[in-house]
C-alpha cells in the first residue's frame, strides 16, 4: 500500500506521462518509468531500458490520443466513456470542472476539456498535496475532508473509465512505452480502489501517511 507521498508522486508522474510529450517530459520519462515500477512493484520492462526518442513518443501519443487511423483509439476524456453518446463535454465533464472550481482552481493552463485525463490526475495530485500540507499543519479535519474529496472525485470521474481506456490502448497500440504505462495505470487504479475501499470500511485515520 502506498503512503501519501508516494501516491502524490504517482499521480504526478501519470499526469505528466498522459500529457503530450515534450523535450523535458521525454528526458524525465526514464526516471518516471523507473519510479513507477518501483512504486507499483511492477517489473521494469526490459524493452523500456532505453526510453523511446521524443519523436517516437509523439507519434505514438498522437496515434493513441489525438487523431489517427481508425479514429482516435483511446480518447483520454472521461465523458467519452462515462456519458451517453461517446462525446466530449458531457455532463460529467461539467461536473469535473465544478470539482476544480470548488477547490478554487480554473483551467487557464489547458485547451483541453476539463475531463482530460492528465488534468484529472493533476487534480488528484493537487488534493494529495493539500492533504500533505494539512497533515503537516496537524489539521485532521481538513485532512479528512481532502481524503473524502479524493475518493469522491476518483470514484465518480476516473476509476470507472480507466479500465476501458487502458484496454483500448492495449488493443490498438504496439508501442511498448504506452502499453506499459497503461498497464501501470490499470494497476494503480486497482490499488487506489482497494485503498479507498479500506478507508470507507475503517476510519479515515487508517489512510497510510507513512510507509
Amino acid at each position: 500500500m502506498l503512503n501519501l507521498a508516494e501516491r502524490k508522486k504517482t499521480y504526478q508522474i501519470f499526469s505528466d506521462l498522459f500529457r503530450y510529450p515534450d523535450q523535458p517530459s521525454q528526458a524525465a520519462s526514464a526516471q518516471s518509468v523507473a519510479d513507477l515500477s518501483q512504486l507499483l512493484h511492477l517489473d521494469f520492462p526490459p524493452e523500456l531500458s532505453q526510453v523511446p526518442a521524443l519523436r517516437e513518443m509523439e507519434v505514438a501519443y498522437t496515434h493513441l490520443f489525438v487523431n489517427s487511423l481508425g479514429g482516435t483509439p483511446a480518447p483520454p476524456y472521461g465523458s467519452v466513456y462515462l456519458d451517453a453518446g461517446n462525446l466530449l463535454m458531457g455532463e460529467t465533464s461539467l461536473k469535473v470542472e465544478a470539482c476544480y472550481a470548488a477547490e478554487n482552481l480554473n483551467l487557464q493552463g489547458s485547451d483541453e476539456p476539463p475531463d482530460f485525463l492528465a488534468t484529472e490526475l493533476e487534480f488528484l495530485y493537487y488534493l494529495l498535496d493539500e492533504e500533505e500540507a494539512a497533515l503537516a499543519a496537524g489539521d485532521t479535519a481538513r485532512q479528512a475532508e481532502l481524503t473524502n474529496k479524493q475518493i469522491v472525485f476518483f470514484e465518480n470521474y476516473l476509476s470507472s473509465w480507466l479500465p476501458d481506456f487502458c484496454e483500448r490502448i492495449a488493443a490498438r497500440s504496439s508501442d511498448p512505452f504506452y502499453l506499459w504505462i497503461a498497464e501501470a495505470l490499470q494497476l494503480f487504479n486497482r490499488m487506489e480502489m482497494a485503498l479507498f475501499e479500506k478507508v470507507r470500511k475503517n476510519s479515515i485515520s487508517e489512510l497510510p501517511t507513512t510507509s
Binding site: 500529457r19 489525438v66 489517427s68 453518446g85 470542472e97
Partner: protein
C-alpha cells in the same frame, strides 16, 4: 525540422514548462507545479455555466438553414430550426442539421495542427504548434514559388462554409490562378446551359408551380431547401402535379404523381419531344415568345426531327405519355416548370440538355412569373476590396482552354487533374485543401491519389481526418461551424436573405477559424499579402453591412435578415437580359460563334455493353457528400451503402440479396453488399455516395461499403468542364 523550443508559447505550453518562476507566477504563492490547473484568487462563475439560445446558420451541408443553438451550461445541447421567418429553410432542420452537435463534441475531431512524420498515407503524425505548422506551410509555399512557379500551387476549396472566400483570397494574393471549387463536380453545366439561354441561372418557383417535371434531381433525398419542402403537395393544391424521371425509384418517385424509369442519358430526348409537341401542336405562348425570345424559327425547324415516337424508343417513355405530359405542361404554363434545380451532372452533353430544359420553360412563358422560373435577387452587401499583389511571371490557369467555358475561380476538376498529372503546360507541386474531400468527391480516385503523390507539399484544413487530410503533410484543425464568427452571407434567390454565423461555444482545443488561419498564413507570406487580411472579423462584418446597418441587428436579434417575404414577379419585364441579344436565346448566337451547337442536338448515350451495367450514383437525406458519414447519429441511420440491382438481373447472375459483390469499372474495383430491389432499371446499378473511404481515420465508416469515386471514370462535359457521373459501366461478380 521539429525543434520543440521553437514552438509557440500557447497557454498550455507556457505553463507546461516546468520552470518554477513561471509556474509560481500563475499559481501564486503555491510551490506545487500545476500545469493545466491554475489557482487564481478570483474564481468567477465557470465559463461552463452559460445557458443561452444562439442564432446561427447550419453548416452540415451547403444549404445554410437557419439554426438556433440551445446552449446549456456552456455546452450545445440541441440545435433547433430558427423559429423566425426564414424564407430559405422555413423553420426546419434535417437529420444532418440535428446531428450537428456531434461535430463539435466528436472525440475524433481534429484538435491540434498535425505534421506528418512517416511516409505519406502511412499515418504517422505528431502534434505541432500553430507557429510551427503555419511556418511549415508558408515555407513550402515559398519554396514552390521559387522552385517552380506560383501557379504550381493549387487551392481546392469546399463551399458553404461562409469563409471559403478568404481561402480564395489567399490563393489570389499568393499569386496562383489555380483554385478549384465544387461546381464542376456539381452544377456548372446547369449554370452554363441556363445562363446561355436566360443570362442567369434562375430558380424554379416550386412553391407556386402547378406542374413540375423533375429529372434526376432527387429532392426528397438530396435535400435542398426550400424546394424539398415545397415539392410536397399542400392542402387544397388539387391541380399540382409532379412528374419525375429517374432510373431509380427514389423517395421523390414515391412522392411524385408519375414516375418514369427513364433510360439514363436520354432526358434530352424527352425534353426535345416535349418541345416538339408544344411547337407542332401550337401549345406555346406566342406573345411571350414574340416579346421575349430570339431564335424561335430556327428552333421550330430544328425540333421537327424529335417526335414523341422517336423519343419513346430513346428514353423508354411511351409516346402517348410524352404527348400527354406536353399538353398538361403547356396547359399549366406559365405556372409550370421543368425543374433544373441543383444536382451534379451525369453525361457529357449535360450543358446542351440544360439548354433544352431552359428552352422548354421559355416557350411556354414560364419565366419571371408565378410558378415559373424566377431570376434570383440579392441583398447588396458591401464587398471587401483588396489589392492583390501583382506577379509578372504567373501563367494562365492550368486548365485554361481545356473546355469552352471555364470558370476562372472554379476551374474544372477533371481537366485540371489530367493536365496536372501530365505537367502540361507546367507542373503542379503544392496543394492547399480547404475542407474539400478530394479523394471522395472527385471521380476516379486512383488519379487523385496519383496527383497527391506527385505533390511536394499538401496542406489540408478540415474538422475531421478526411481521406484527403490523411494523405497530407500538414493538417490544420478548423473550428467547426458552431464555434465561429462567420461573415454575413447573401443567400440569393427569389426571396433573398442574409444569414451569418456566430460562435455558440468557444472553439475547442486549438482549432481556429479559417479566417484566422488565412490571416496567419498571409502574415508569413509578407506584408503585402498580410495587408489584405488586416482587419478583425467584427470590422469585416461592419464593413459588409455599412450600407445597411439594420442587417446587423436583424442577424443578432433573429438570425436572419430579409426584405421580402414573397417573390417579386415580373421583375425583369421589359428589361434587358444578360445575353448577347438581351433576350431569352432559344437559338444561341454565342454558341454558334464558338462552334458549338446553337440549338441542342441529341446524341444517344453509349449502349450498355453486354454483361455490364451502368453505374448510377446518388445522395440521400442522411449524409452530405463524403463529409458526415462518420457522425454517429447519422451512421445509425445508414451504416453502409449497398449496390442496387434489379431482381431479374440478380437471377441471371445467380446473386443473392445481401451477399458481397465485386464491382469493377475501367478505373477501379470496390466490394460492397448487394441489395436486390425492384427500385432500379435492369440495365443499371446504383450505389450511394460517401462510403468506402480509403483512410481508417473515420472510425465509423472504415471499410464499410464501397466508394463511387474509386469507380467513376473521369469523363466531362466539353462546354462546362463538369464531370459526367453516369458514363461508367461496371461488371458485377460475387466477392
Amino acid at each position: 525540422m521539429a525543434n520543440p523550443k521553437k514552438q509557440k508559447m500557447s497557454r498550455r505550453k507556457f505553463l507546461g514548462i516546468s520552470s518554477c518562476a513561471l509556474t509560481t507566477a500563475v499559481v501564486g504563492s503555491q510551490v506545487k507545479v500545476l500545469k493545466a490547473l491554475a489557482k487564481s484568487g478570483d474564481i468567477s462563475e465557470p465559463v461552463a455555466a452559460i445557458t443561452k439560445d444562439v442564432y446561427t446558420s447550419c453548416g452540415m451541408c451547403v444549404n445554410k438553414c437557419g439554426v438556433i443553438a440551445r446552449v446549456r451550461d456552456g455546452v450545445i445541447h440541441k440545435l433547433d430550426p430558427n423559429p423566425n421567418f426564414f424564407p430559405k429553410s422555413r423553420g426546419m432542420l434535417c437529420a444532418r442539421g440535428n446531428a450537428g452537435t456531434k461535430v463539435v463534441y466528436d472525440p475524433d475531431r481534429l484538435k491540434y495542427p498535425l505534421i506528418r512524420v512517416g511516409e505519406r498515407g502511412e499515418g504517422k503524425w505528431r502534434r505541432a504548434s500553430w507557429e510551427e505548422a503555419l511556418d511549415m506551410v508558408t515555407n513550402n509555399m515559398n519554396q514552390i514559388a521559387e522552385k517552380y512557379n506560383r501557379a504550381s500551387m493549387m487551392f481546392a476549396s469546399t463551399e458553404g462554409t461562409f469563409s471559403e472566400h478568404f481561402f480564395l483570397q489567399l490563393a489570389e494574393c499568393y499569386g496562383t490562378p489555380n483554385t478549384l471549387r465544387h461546381p464542376t463536380l456539381c452544377l456548372s453545366s446547369n449554370i452554363q446551359g441556363f445562363s446561355a439561354t436566360f443570362g442567369t441561372n434562375p430558380t424554379p418557383d416550386v412553391k407556386n408551380a402547378d406542374y413540375i417535371i423533375m429529372s434526376g434531381a432527387n429532392r426528397a433525398e438530396a435535400l435542398m431547401t426550400p424546394d424539398s419542402i415545397d415539392m410536397i403537395k399542400t392542402d387544397g393544391g388539387g391541380r399540382r402535379k409532379l412528374v419525375y424521371l429517374d432510373p431509380r425509384f427514389t423517395k421523390t418517385a414515391a412522392k411524385a404523381d408519375e414516375w418514369y424509369p427513364i433510360k439514363p442519358g436520354t432526358d434530352m430526348a424527352f425534353i426535345l419531344a416535349l418541345i416538339n409537341v408544344i411547337i407542332t401542336e401550337g401549345l406555346y405562348d406566342d406573345d411571350f415568345i414574340e416579346e421575349n425570345t430570339v431564335g424561335f424559327e430556327q428552333l421550330a425547324q430544328h425540333i421537327k426531327q424529335y417526335s414523341p415516337g422517336w423519343a419513346a424508343t430513346e428514353c423508354d417513355i411511351p409516346a402517348k405519355d410524352i404527348r400527354r405530359i406536353a399538353h398538361e405542361f403547356a396547359n399549366a404554363a406559365p405556372s409550370a416548370v421543368y425543374y433544373q434545380g441543383r444536382r451534379s451532372s451525369f453525361f457529357q452533353n449535360d450543358t446542351q440538355m440544360r439548354r433544352a430544359m431552359a428552352i422548354l420553360n421559355a416557350i411556354v412563358g414560364a419565366w419571371d412569373t408565378k410558378g415559373g422560373l424566377l431570376p434570383n435577387k440579392k441583398i447588396a452587401l458591401t464587398k471587401h476590396d483588396y489589392l492583390a499583389p501583382w506577379y509578372d511571371d504567373v501563367p494562365d490557369r492550368l486548365d485554361k482552354g481545356g473546355v469552352t467555358y471555364l470558370s476562372e475561380k472554379d476551374g474544372s476538376w477533371p481537366v485540371f487533374r489530367d493536365r496536372a498529372l501530365a505537367a502540361d503546360p507546367y507542373p503542379i507541386k503544392g496543394m492547399m485543401v480547404y475542407k474539400q474531400n478530394v479523394l471522395v468527391s472527385v471521380p476516379d480516385r486512383a488519379k487523385s491519389l496519383e496527383l497527391m503523390k506527385q505533390m511536394d507539399f499538401i496542406c489540408t484544413i478540415d474538422i475531421t481526418m478526411s481521406d484527403t487530410a490523411w494523405y497530407s503533410d500538414v493538417v490544420l484543425p478548423e473550428a467547426t461551424y458552431l464555434e465561429r464568427l462567420d461573415p454575413p452571407e447573401n443567400l440569393s434567390g427569389p426571396v433573398p436573405v442574409v444569414a451569418f454565423r456566430q460562435p455558440c461555444v468557444e472553439a475547442m482545443f486549438e482549432s481556429k477559424t479559417n479566417f484566422w488561419i488565412m490571416q496567419q498564413l498571409a502574415k508569413r507570406l509578407g506584408p503585402e499579402i498580410a495587408e489584405t487580411f488586416d482587419f478583425t472579423m467584427e470590422e469585416h462584418i461592419h464593413h459588409m453591412l455599412k450600407k445597411k446597418p439594420e442587417i446587423y441587428d436583424a442577424l443578432f436579434g433573429k438570425g436572419v435578415y430579409y426584405e421580402d417575404t414573397e417573390p417579386e414577379y415580373g421583375r425583369l419585364k421589359g428589361k434587358r437580359l444578360r445575353t448577347r441579344s438581351g433576350k431569352i436565346e432559344l437559338y444561341s448566337e454565342k454558341y454558334a460563334k464558338k462552334g458549338l451547337d446553337p440549338l441542342p442536338v441529341y446524341k444517344s448515350p453509349d449502349k450498355v455493353p453486354t454483361n455490364m451495367y451502368r453505374l448510377l450514383v446518388g445522395r440521400h437525406a442522411y449524409f452530405t457528400h463524403g463529409t458526415t458519414a462518420n457522425n454517429a447519429l447519422l451512421h445509425d441511420l445508414m451504416p453502409e451503402n449497398t449496390l442496387w440491382l434489379a431482381p431479374s438481373e440478380a437471377r441471371k447472375l445467380r446473386l443473392k440479396n445481401g451477399q458481397m459483390v465485386k464491382v469493377k469499372s475501367k478505373v477501379g474495383e470496390e466490394k460492397l453488399k448487394l441489395e436486390i430491389t425492384e427500385k432500379i432499371r435492369p440495365d443499371s446499378v446504383y450505389m450511394a455516395h460517401g462510403f468506402g473511404v480509403l483512410s481508417k481515420g473515420l472510425s465509423n465508416i472504415a471499410g464499410v461499403g464501397g466508394s463511387d469515386a474509386a469507380l467513376i471514370e473521369s469523363k466531362y462535359c466539353p462546354i462546362s468542364g463538369n464531370c459526367a457521373m453516369h458514363e461508367t459501366f461496371v461488371q458485377i461478380t460475387p466477392a
